[in-house]
């Protein structure tokens, strides 16, 4: 009975956010172990656990706009955060934003009556919107957001940032211009882009490079934190 009770208490505590558990978890656990676990108590703890989760999510949403916006738009930005929870939450939000951006971009391009002398189809529109979103996020948004924070602190941060930001579009250009990636060698502009994005090889190159770019961009922030924690020790 006691084992089942402890398991129930542990489960109830899991409804609270991790940071809250670290601060108040042992106290609440001690209280629950000594109290009678009636259905009312269980519902009370469950409800308040969910309330705390909602509250901490809302508080996280009140972080400076720059960070909040960046985590919503660029998945690479969230690599800089070492907390899995934030990475997961931001990652899901980012993914949704990227899909939405790609869809909007796709629809807009599809509705353009003339684009380079031909009427673009849906495959072309989707093919174009993906690199546009990726490149835009890398080249414009991420550096602009991050430079403001890092520029005054350390020039090596800026260099790492620029290297990371350049990697993805460079890789994309290499993939697009390499004929060995594209099977069938259809060289009309429309088919060319559509082909690139329909080849699994393109993704086999782009995804690791994109990730590497993210790691390089994430590195300075991580190193800053390591230096800081060393100094604190």
């Amino acid at each position: 009975v006691s084992r089942r009770r402890n398991a129930l208490v542990a489960l109830l505590l899991l409804t609270y956010p991790r940071r809250w558990r670290e601060e108040y978890g042992p106290e609440l656990e001690a209280l629950l172990v000594t109290s009678t676990l009636t259905p009312r108590v269980v519902v009370n703890v469950l409800w308040n656990g969910l309330w705390q989760r909602g509250r901490s999510a809302w508080q996280a949403g009140r972080r400076p706009f720059r960070r909040r916006a960046a985590t919503r738009i660029d998945p690479v930005y969230v690599v800089r955060h070492r907390r899995f929870g934030l990475l997961r939450r931001a990652g899901v939000a980012c993914l949704a934003m990227e899909i939405l951006s790609a869809l909007i971009g796709g629809v807009m391009l599809r509705n353009t009556s003339e684009f380079g002398g031909f009427v673009p189809g849906m495959i072309f529109a989707a093919a174009m919107s993906v690199p546009l979103v990726m490149t835009g996020a890398f080249l414009v948004f991420l550096p602009a957001m991050s430079l403001a924070r890092w520029l005054v602190r350390d020039w090596s941060n800026v260099l790492a940032l620029v290297a990371g930001a350049l990697l993805s579009p460079v890789a994309f250009a290499v993939v697009v211009s390499s004929s060995w990636v594209i099977e069938g060698m259809a060289w009309s502009f429309h088919d060319h882009w559509a082909n690139v994005l329909s080849q699994p090889r393109s993704y086999a190159i782009l995804i690791p490079v994109y990730t590497l770019g993210g790691v390089i961009v994430a590195l300075p922030g991580r190193m800053d934190r390591l230096r800081l924690s060393k100094r604190q020790r």
């Binding site: 809250w20 601060e23 108040y24 042992p26 106290e27 609440l28 656990e29 001690a30 209280l31 629950l32 000594t34 109290s35 009312r40 108590v41 009370n44 703890v45 469950l46 409800w47 308040n48 656990g49 309330w51 705390q52």
Partner: protein, 104 residues
Amino acid sequence: MARKPTTGPAGDPELLILASLAEGPKHGYAIMTDIAQFADVALGPGTLYTAITRLVERKLIAPQAESGRQRPYKLTAQGARTLAERLIDMRRIATIGLGRLRTT
């Protein structure tokens, strides 16, 4: 028998906790039993700790050194001031309300 918090001061767990801690530092279980005694209100453990979290964040109460797994909390100077202000407000409103009831 202790009842479920409803409206008014009995439905305000933060005020009840502040009032309980006005007597001296207490840990969670002691606060819960004290409130059940003086206010006849049964606070759930979840409600208790949600209110404690808010009070700590607003610096109205402060945790003290742990004794075992339970950590006592004490009223801060700011917490004492807030409690006094709220109780005086409540007394003023209660006096006016009761006075008006007598005249009708």
